[in-house]
C-alpha cells in the first residue's frame, strides 16, 4: 500500500525535496512576501541558503535530534523555513495557533516539551514568557521581528537574524554534524506535529511522518494535476494541517510558489495582486465575499444592478454546465461569453480569482447557492473532505463531477468504508502515526489494521460512488420521541442565510428542538444602515425586534424544508433566541478553526437552554467574555425568546 517509488528517488523528507527543487527549479520563485508595500521574492536556491543558515543556527544553539520546536506567528516565509530547518536538524516542528491565549499555548508547549520556540513578534514572545512561569521545558526563544524586544532579557533569547548569523559563522564546526543529521532522516521520521483544535477536550498532538505528508501531497497533486507553476496565497493559520500541506507539502513536492500576504488585514488586496492559480478557503470565506458583493450591488446604480441580475441569472443556468464541459447551446454560450466580459470577468478579478484553476473548500458544508454562485462564474470550486489525522486528503471531487451535496471520491491510495453505526472510516498512506503521548486515543481512533474513525456519519451514494457526510457521528442522537436528531443538518440550512452567521440547535434527549442564533454583523449591519436603524453594538442590533422577525422568518422557512425530510422532520425548531454575543474561539465556544463546541455552549449558556424549554418569554443572563489580550469581562443582557411556527408532521402523515 505504501508507495516505495519515492524512496527510490530519495525524496524521503522535506529537506530532500528542497534539494531537488534547487536542482530542478533553482531560479524559480519559491516564496514571496509583501513588505514595505513591495513584493519581495526568494528563489528556491535562495530559500535553501536561508534554511541552511537557520539549521546551522539552531544546531549551534544546541537543538538536538528529536527535540520539538514550537513555531508561532502569522504566515511569513521565514517561519515556514524555520520549520524545514528544524527538520534538517532532525527535530520536529510544531506550529501553534498564533491567536491562542497564553493558557492554551502553555498546554501545548508543556505537552510537546518544546525546548525551543520561534516567535513571529513581540506579542508571541510575551505569551511564551508568560507560559515559561509554568512550563519549564522552554529553554530558548528565537524571534523574527525585533520590534519592542530590545529591552528584554537576552540571556535566553535571540533574534532569528542573529541566530542565522552565528550559524553561518560557526559553519565549519557544525556542517559535518548537520549533514549527518540530514542524511539520517528516514521516510518514517516525523515531519511535523500538529495539534488538532478538538471540539471536545484538550488538543491532541497528531504526529505526521514524512511518508504521510509526502504521499498525501503527491496523490493530491496528481489528482488535480498541480505543477511547479502554481501560485498560492498562504493566509490560513500555520498550525492548521491544510496550510502545512498546501504551503509546505505540496509546494515542496511540486516546487510551486507560496505567497505570504503583508498582514491578515490586507489579504483581499494581496489576493487580487497575486491572482493565485490554486486556492483554498473555508465556506465562511466564500459566503463572506458574496455578502460583501451583494451589499455593493445593492448600493450600485440601476444599470449595473440590472446587468448583474440579468447575467447572473444566465450564469446560474449554464455556468456550471460550461465548466463541467457538458453540452450547452450556441446562443447560451454567446450570452455567457458576453456576460463574461461585462460581469463574470470583473467579479473574478475583484475576488482575486482570475487565474484560479482549482479552488477547494472544506471543513463545513457549503450552501448550495453559494457553491453554485462561484462555479457559475467559471471558478472551478470543489469540495474536499479530510482531517488532520489523514494529512488532509480523504476524498476530493474530480473535475466534471462536482456537486454541492457530496464531498467526492477517495483520492488514489485512500480506502473508505462505512461502519455499522454509519461512521466513515478510512485508511491511507497519509494516515497519522499516533497521537503524541496519548496511546489510548490513538488506539480508539486507529485500529490495528490502520482504519481510522473520522467521527463523521455519512454514506456512499450508490449512483455516483461519492461520499456524503450527514453530521458529526457523536452529535447524531435521538429526541425523546425517538426521532433522529442531526443538529448540523439544520444548522447548515440556517447558516445558508446571509443574515445568520452561526446557529446552535439543541434537542438531544428532549421532545423538541430549539435554536440559538448569531446574526452576521456585516449583512444585518448593512440592512440596518439602509433602513436607518441605529445601533451601538452587536448586542443592540441582535435584540432589535425587526432582526428577530427576520430570523424568525428564516427559521420558519427552514422548518418547512426540514419537514420534507422523513428521517429528520423531528428537528424542526420550536423556539429560538438571538444570542447577545458572537460565539468566539477566545471564549472557548468555537474551535480555532471556527467549529461549534456543543458541550461548552450547553454548559455556558445552560440558563438560556433552560429558558428555551421552560416556556419563558425572556431571560436575563450574564456571560463572561475574554478580550484579545486574555483579560476577562462580563456582559449582561435580557434576551427575548420567540416561538417559531412548525409544520405538523404527524398529522400530514396521518392524512396521507
Amino acid at each position: 500500500m505504501t508507495g516505495t517509488q519515492n524512496q527510490v528517488d530519495d525524496l524521503i523528507s522535506i529537506p530532500a525535496l528542497l534539494a531537488r527543487n534547487v536542482r530542478d527549479f533553482g531560479d524559480q520563485d519559491a516564496f514571496r512576501e509583501k513588505e514595505f508595500g513591495i513584493w519581495q521574492s526568494w528563489t528556491w536556491s535562495e530559500v535553501a541558503e536561508e534554511i541552511e543558515a537557520m539549521a546551522l543556527g539552531l544546531a549551534g544553539l544546541g537543538l538536538a535530534k528529536g527535540d520539538h520546536v514550537a513555531i508561532i506567528g502569522r504566515n511569513r516565509p521565514k517561519l515556514y523555513w524555520a520549520m524545514v530547518a528544524a527538520e534538517k536538524c532532525g527535530a520536529i516542528p510544531v506550529p501553534l495557533y498564533q491567536d491562542a491565549v497564553a493558557e492554551e499555548m502553555a498546554y501545548v508547549l508543556e505537552h510537546c516539551g518544546a525546548r525551543f520556540v520561534i516567535c513571529g513578534d513581540q506579542e508571541q514572545v510575551d505569551k511564551v514568557i508568560e507560559c515559561q512561569e509554568k512550563v519549564s521545558s522552554v529553554e530558548h526563544v528565537v524571534y523574527y521581528d525585533p520590534r519592542g524586544l530590545r529591552k528584554y532579557d537576552h540571556s535566553k533569547m535571540t533574534s532569528l537574524e542573529g541566530m542565522m548569523a552565528s550559524g553561518r559563522a560557526a559553519e565549519a564546526s557544525l556542517r559535518a554534524d548537520l549533514k549527518a543529521r540530514e542524511a539520517a532522516l528516514t521516510y518514517d521520521d516525523t515531519c511535523v506535529m500538529l495539534y488538532t483544535s478538538g471540539t471536545t477536550g484538550r488538543p491532541k498532538g497528531v504526529v505526521l511522518s514524512n511518508r504521510n505528508i509526502i504521499e498525501a501531497s503527491k496523490a493530491s497533486s496528481e489528482f488535480d494535476s498541480l505543477t511547479h507553476d502554481e501560485q498560492i496565497l498562504a493566509y490560513l493559520p500555520m498550525a492548521w494541517v491544510g496550510d502545512f500541506i498546501f504551503s509546505v507539502g505540496q509546494s515542496f513536492w511540486n516546487g510551486f510558489c507560496v505567497n505570504c500576504p503583508e498582514r491578515a488585514m490586507t489579504m483581499y488586496e494581496n489576493l487580487h495582486e497575486i491572482g493565485p492559480t490554486y486556492f483554498f478557503a473555508p465556506p465562511r470565506y466564500f459566503e463572506e465575499r458574496i455578502t460583501i458583493l451583494t451589499i455593493r450591488m445593492e448600493d450600485a446604480g440601476r444599470l449595473k444592478r440590472n446587468m448583474f441580475k440579468y447575467f447572473m441569472a444566465h450564469a446560474r443556468e449554464v455556468g456550471p454546465d460550461i465548466l463541467d464541459g457538458k453540452p450547452v447551446g450556441g446562443w447560451d454560450r454567446f450570452k455567457y461569453w458576453l456576460g463574461n466580459i461585462c460581469v463574470y470577468g470583473p467579479l473574478r478579478s475583484r475576488a482575486g480569482m482570475s487565474h484560479v484553476r482549482v479552488a477547494y473548500t472544506a471543513g463545513e458544508a457549503i450552501g448550495p447557492e453559494i457553491f453554485d454562485f462561484w462555479r457559475s462564474l467559471g471558478i472551478n470550486l470543489k469540495q474536499l473532505y479530510g482531517q488532520t489525522e489523514a494529512s488532509v486528503f480523504i476524498t476530493n471531487q474530480p473535475d466534471s463531477e462536482v456537486r454541492s451535496d457530496t464531498v467526492g471520491v477517495p483520492i488514489p491510495g485512500v480506502e473508505i468504508k462505512i461502519g455499522d453505526n454509519g461512521e466513515v472510516y478510512y485508511r491511507s498512506p497519509g494516515t497519522f502515526v499516533e497521537y503524541y503521548k496519548n496511546p489510548e486515543s490513538t488506539a480508539s481512533t486507529k485500529d490495528p489494521e490502520g482504519w481510522v474513525a473520522t467521527g463523521d456519519a455519512g454514506f456512499i451514494e450508490e449512483s455516483s460512488g461519492h461520499l456524503r457526510i450527514i453530521d458529526r457521528a457523536k452529535d447524531v442522537a435521538k429526541l425523546s420521541t425517538g426521532q433522529m436528531f442531526a443538529p448540523k443538518y439544520v444548522e447548515n440550512k440556517l447558516k445558508f442565510y446571509p443574515n445568520i452567521l452561526e446557529a446552535v440547535v439543541i434537542g438531544a434527549g428532549r421532545d423538541h428542538c430549539c435554536a440559538m442564533v448569531n446574526i452576521d454583523l456585516t449583512a444585518v449591519g448593512n440592512w440596518a444602515e439602509r433602513n436607518n436603524i441605529a445601533y451601538g453594538s452587536y448586542q443592540e442590533l441582535a435584540a432589535h425586534p425587526q432582526v428577530y422577525q427576520t430570523v424568525q422568518e428564516h427559521i420558519e422557512e427552514v422548518n418547512r424544508s426540514v419537514a420534507q425530510d422523513e428521517m429528520l422532520n423531528g428537528c424542526q425548531i420550536h423556539r429560538f433566541l438571538v444570542l447577545h454575543k458572537q460565539l468566539d474561539a477566545d471564549d472557548g465556544e468555537l474551535t480555532r478553526t471556527m467549529k461549534v463546541r456543543r458541550a461548552v455552549i450547553n454548559d455556558k449558556f445552560g440558563d438560556l437552554v433552560d429558558a428555551l424549554y421552560d416556556g419563558s418569554k425572556e431571560i436575563y443572563t450574564e456571560t463572561e467574555v475574554t478580550y484579545e489580550d486574555g483579560r476577562k469581562g462580563k456582559i449582561t443582557a435580557t434576551l427575548e425568546i420567540r416561538d417559531a411556527a412548525v409544520q405538523p408532521v404527524g398529522q400530514r402523515m396521518a392524512a396521507e
Binding site: E35, F36, G37, I38, R147, G148, R150, K151, E262, R263, M265, T266, E269, Y627, E628, D629
Partner: protein, 273 residues
C-alpha cells in the same frame, strides 16, 4: 534626583535619558485680559516621554502651542537645543525637528493615507516643484527614497491595509494613527502629541500607548504629550508637569505627582479663591 542640564541617566527599563533638549523659562502667555499661562518653567530631556496634564482649561494646549512656536509668550524664554528661540515660522519649526499631532484631527480628508503621510516628508525634499511635477531625475530618486521611509512608518504603525484608502473614510481611531504617522514621517527630534487617546476605546488606547512607547524606544524620539486619561499618562511618562488655571502645581515622576497634595486637590476639586 537633581540633574544638571547636561547630565544623563538610565531609566529602570533601560532607556537612556539625555541632557535638556528644550527648556521653558518663566513663560507667561496672555490673550487680551486672560492669562492662559502664568510664569511656568520646566524642561524636556532628550529621549524622555514628558506629559503635561491638568483639568480642562488649565492651559495645556496653550503650553503645547508655545512649545511648537505657534504662540509667542509675552514673557519668558523658550530654549531649544541650547539656544534661545526667536520668533519662528511654522516651516522653520518643522525644519528644527519638531512635529505634532492635533487634538482635533487635521488631515487632508480627500487624500489617501499614503499621500497624507508623504506630506510629512516635505521638509526632507530638496528638489523644486517643477521637477517633482515632472517626476524627473533627482525628483524621482528623491520620491522613491522618501516613499521607502514612509513605507517603514506604515509598517511600524501597522496600517498597511489602509495605505490607499482616503482618510475621510477611516474611523476615528485610525485617523489618529495616520496623524501620528505623518508626524513621524518628518523624523522629528521632538514629537508633540495633543491628546493622542481622546475619544478612543480601551483597545485603541492600548494600541496607541504601545505605539508611543515603541516610537520612543525604536527611534529615540523625545515625546511631549497632553492627555486626560490618568492611567495612560502615569504608565507612559517619565516625568509629568501638572497645570491648573495656568499655573504649574506639580512636576516630577508619576509617583511624585500622584502623591502631591496640590495635584490631588486640583483633580478632586477644591475651591479656588
Amino acid at each position: 534626583m537633581v540633574l544638571d542640564t547636561g547630565d544623563s541617566y538610565v531609566t529602570a527599563d533601560g532607556r537612556t535619558i539625555g541632557g535638556v533638549l528644550m527648556e521653558m523659562k518663566n513663560i507667561t502667555l496672555k490673550f487680551g485680559g486672560v492669562t492662559a499661562i502664568k510664569d511656568i518653567s520646566f524642561d524636556i530631556r532628550e529621549g524622555e516621554i514628558r506629559a503635561i496634564i491638568g483639568p480642562n482649561g488649565a492651559g495645556k494646549s496653550s503650553m503645547l502651542n508655545v512649545i511648537s512656536g505657534f504662540y509667542k509668550p509675552q514673557e519668558g524664554e523658550v530654549w531649544f537645543r541650547g539656544a534661545v528661540r526667536g520668533p519662528v515660522k511654522p516651516f522653520q519649526v518643522a525644519q528644527e525637528g519638531i512635529a505634532r499631532t492635533f487634538q482635533n484631527i487635521a488631515l487632508f480628508e480627500g487624500m489617501s493615507v499614503l499621500d497624507n503621510i508623504m506630506t510629512g516628508r516635505l521638509t526632507h525634499m530638496k528638489t523644486n516643484m517643477v521637477a517633482q511635477a515632472m517626476w524627473w531625475g533627482a525628483a524621482e530618486k528623491e520620491e522613491n527614497e522618501n516613499r521607502e521611509k514612509v513605507e517603514r512608518i506604515i509598517d511600524f504603525l501597522e496600517i498597511q491595509a489602509i495605505r490607499k484608502t482616503p482618510v475621510g473614510r477611516l474611523p476615528y481611531g485610525l485617523k489618529k494613527r495616520v496623524e501620528l504617522a505623518r508626524a513621524l514621517a518628518a523624523e522629528p527630534m521632538l514629537l508633540l502629541l495633543d491628546e493622542p487617546m481622546a475619544g478612543m476605546n480601551v483597545e485603541e488606547k492600548e494600541d496607541m500607548s504601545r505605539f508611543i512607547l515603541d516610537v520612543n524606544d525604536e527611534f529615540g524620539t523625545t515625546i511631549a504629550l497632553i492627555e486626560h486619561d490618568m492611567g495612560v499618562v502615569m504608565d507612559l511618562s517619565d516625568r509629568v508637569v501638572v497645570m491648573d488655571y495656568g499655573k504649574k502645581i506639580g512636576d516630577g515622576t508619576p509617583d511624585e505627582v500622584r502623591s502631591n497634595q496640590a495635584v490631588i486637590d486640583a483633580y478632586l476639586g477644591v475651591s479656588h479663591d
